[in-house]
Structure formats: structure tokens, C-alpha cells
């Protein structure tokens, strides 16, 4: 009797009730049921037990707060990473540049024709870039005179620092996306 019990496919009985056996194994188990009264009774017990589990655990979904969906959606949408892909950021940048160009054109609207407008915008940009580099040069010269390094060393260190900052921020954002 004990040897027979050892051959009984107890673990497969539940899987059989779950409909998770391969067809071949299912047939084997069914053949076994017709020969083994003990397993047949175990099968019926398992069926009753699993049915009770199904009935109980599929019921009783929790009551959710009335505005739960709205709150979840609002919180998800406000989480910054969101659905925004890097491509979208480029789109946003593109739109910003377009808008600022438009504003600049609007500023130069006193000019009589488009060529004058364009040249006004271009000269504004040129002055902007010129002033920017002048500013940077002044800052570098001041920093260099305060420290024991030469101006070129300061420029070199600044470039290294900027590259590092860019690298770290990219690493952080790629880790967050992962």
C-alpha cells in the first residue's frame, strides 16, 4: 500500500484540477484515478477545496475612495519622467527656439522689410555671443589672477568640470529610466 502511495501523483492532482498538465500527463493521471480509489477521493477533495478558494479570493474587492482613479492619474502625470522621451525634449527645445526667434522678430518689427528684420536679429545674436565670450574671458582672467594657475589651466579645468557634470547627469537619468 505504501509503495502504491509513493507512486501516487499527489502534486499533479492539484495541477490536474487547475488544467495545467500536458495532455499526455493528464491521460496518465486519469488512468491512475480509475485504478486508485485514494487518489480519486483526493481529486474530489482538491476540487472542493480549490473551488472554495476561488470563490473566496475572487470576491471582496476593496472599496476604493471615490476619486481614486483621478488622484492616481494626476499623480502619475505629474511624475516628471513620465511618458516624455528624449525625443520630446528635443521637440520642446525646438519649439522654444522657434518662439524666441518669433519674439526677436517681433522686437525688430519697426524695421521696414524682412531683410532689415533678419539683420537686426542676426546682429542681436552676434552681440549676444560676443558679450558672452567677453564675459567668460573676464571671469577666466579674474579667476586666473586670484589663483596660482595660468588662464589656460583654468579653461582646461572648467572644460573637464563641465564634461564631468554632463556625464554624471546623463548617468543619473539613464539609471532612473532603467
Amino acid at each position: 500500500m505504501d509503495t502504491l502511495r509513493q507512486n501516487c501523483p499527489f502534486e499533479d492532482i492539484a495541477a490536474y484540477v487547475d488544467g495545467e498538465l500536458t495532455l499526455e500527463r493528464e491521460l496518465e493521471v486519469e488512468t491512475h484515478f480509475s485504478a486508485c480509489a485514494e487518489c480519486y477521493s483526493e481529486l474530489n477533495d482538491q476540487k472542493a477545496f480549490l473551488r472554495a478558494l476561488d470563490q473566496t479570493l475572487r470576491q471582496g474587492d476593496l472599496e476604493l475612495p471615490a476619486d481614486f482613479t483621478k488622484v492616481v492619474v494626476a499623480n502619475a502625470e505629474s511624475s516628471v519622467a513620465g511618458l516624455r522621451r528624449s525625443q520630446e525634449r528635443y521637440h520642446a527645445l525646438f519649439i522654444c527656439i522657434g518662439l524666441s526667434l518669433f519674439v526677436l522678430f517681433a522686437l525688430g518689427s519697426q524695421a521696414e522689410n524682412v531683410v532689415d528684420q533678419a539683420s537686426a536679429v542676426a546682429s542681436f545674436f552676434a552681440r549676444f555671443i560676443y558679450s558672452f565670450f567677453i564675459g567668460v574671458a573676464i571671469i577666466i582672467r579674474n579667476v586666473a589672477s586670484q589663483s596660482q594657475f595660468g588662464a589656460s589651466t583654468v579653461v582646461f579645468l572648467t572644460v573637464i568640470f563641465a564634461a564631468l557634470a554632463l556625464f554624471v547627469s546623463r548617468r543619473v537619468s539613464s539609471m532612473r529610466d532603467a
Binding site: 499527489f10 502534486e11 492539484a14 495541477a15 487547475d18 495545467e20 477533495d45 482538491q46 472542493a48 477545496f49 480549490l50 472554495a52 478558494l53 476561488d54 470563490q55 473566496t56 479570493l57 475572487r58 470576491q59 471582496g60 474587492d61 476593496l62 476604493l64 475612495p65 481614486f68 482613479t69 488622484v71 492616481v72 492619474v73 499623480n75 502619475a76 502625470e77 511624475s79 519622467a81 513620465g82 511618458l83 522621451r85
Partner: protein, 201 residues
């Protein structure tokens, strides 16, 4: 107005896959419909895993935020619900770890792959005839006594009707382990019922 009504009723007819495509393309109502469809099953699953209403709501919210942030990475080779349950499963396990809810039972097994029974003490003596509602309470309480790794499988199988394959995908366990643990979990539950004086299973 009529067109709007048609749009409103048709979003409920869309498949999960279509809703995801819409949401990724920036349609806000696509994601909202997904939340509406799955919020109850996910909250119930998480609630039964954690046993605490407030935490279940917090974790469910966390799950959907995570879903929103990774929707563009969703691959349609998985069923959406399987993918969603995997996120919920991980979030529930993380929550347990953070709050040290019986952390030793999340993964630790005895050498033979079994778990120690955790029987609630001080149970009242069993009665012969119980109402079905009492039955349900009893089953709920037995499920709560299971080690989380077993409870998880029982909830996914019986509460959410997932197949063994889907459970394996959700939990990251091999299929054989899923089958074996489900068997052990059910045996453990039946033992607990016998301890409590229930027979017939």
C-alpha cells in the same frame, strides 16, 4: 456632442493594447481607462499580500505611477495584465522589505524547500456547522497565515485566475517551482484547516 458620446463609449471597448498605444501617443484618457480597469484587482491583490488598507492604496498608486513611467517600454509580447501584476508583485515585496514584514518568509525556505507553519494562536474551538461567510473569513485568515511567497502564488492563482505560466512570468520563478510551491501552499492550508477542526478537504 454625438461624436463625443461615441468616443466616450468606445474607449471602454478598446483593448488594453490599443489603450497603451493611445497613452504613449499622449492620450490622457487611455491611461485613465487602464487605471479604471485594473485598480480594483491590483488593490485587492496588494491588500491581501500586505493586509493593510492604507498601504494597499499607497502601493497601488506607486504601481500605476511606475506603469505610467514605463508604458513606452511595455512590449506586447506579454499580456498587459501579466506585466502589471509583475510590477504589483515587485512593489508589494519591496513594501514588505522596507517595512520588514516577516522578511525571512519572503524568500527563505528550509533546506527541503518547505516553510515553517505559522499557526495563529488562541483560535476558538471549532464548530461543526458554519455559514459560508464564516468559511470565507476562515479562508481569508488562513491565507494571511501563509508565508508571503506562498500567499503570493495562491492569490495570483485563485484570486486573479492567472495560469502557471503567467505566475512564473509575474514572480520570475521557474515553472516547476510555481507548480511545487502552489502544491505545498495548498497542503499547508489544508493542514491549517485540519488544525482548526475543519474536515472534508
Amino acid at each position: 456632442m454625438a461624436a463625443k458620446a461615441i468616443t466616450f463609449s468606445s474607449i471602454r471597448d478598446l483593448t488594453d493594447g490599443e489603450l497603451i498605444v493611445g497613452a504613449v501617443a499622449g492620450r490622457a484618457d487611455g491611461f485613465e481607462e487602464l487605471v479604471r480597469r485594473y485598480q480594483r484587482p491590483i488593490t485587492s491583490y496588494v491588500y491581501r499580500m500586505l493586509g493593510d488598507h492604507e498601504s494597499a492604496l499607497d502601493v497601488t498608486q506607486e504601481v500605476f505611477i511606475k506603469v505610467y513611467n514605463s508604458l513606452h517600454k511595455y512590449s506586447s509580447e506579454y499580456k498587459f495584465s501579466t506585466w502589471l501584476y509583475r510590477i504589483a508583485h515587485n512593489a508589494a515585496i519591496d513594501h514588505m522589505r522596507r517595512n520588514s514584514i516577516v522578511p525571512q518568509s519572503i524568500e527563505a525556505e528550509n533546506a527541503d524547500g518547505s516553510y515553517q507553519l505559522q499557526i495563529e494562536s488562541g483560535r476558538p474551538s471549532p464548530e461543526k456547522d458554519r455559514e459560508m461567510s464564516e468559511w470565507r473569513t476562515e479562508i481569508d485568515s488562513v491565507v494571511k497565515c501563509l508565508p508571503p511567497a506562498y500567499r503570493d502564488l495562491i492569490l495570483l492563482r485563485h484570486g486573479r485566475d492567472l495560469s502557471y505560466d503567467e505566475i512564473a512570468e509575474v514572480t520570475g520563478l521557474p515553472l516547476g517551482t510555481v507548480k511545487n510551491r502552489l502544491f505545498r501552499a495548498r497542503e499547508m492550508m489544508r493542514d491549517m484547516f485540519v488544525e482548526r477542526g475543519f474536515t472534508g478537504f
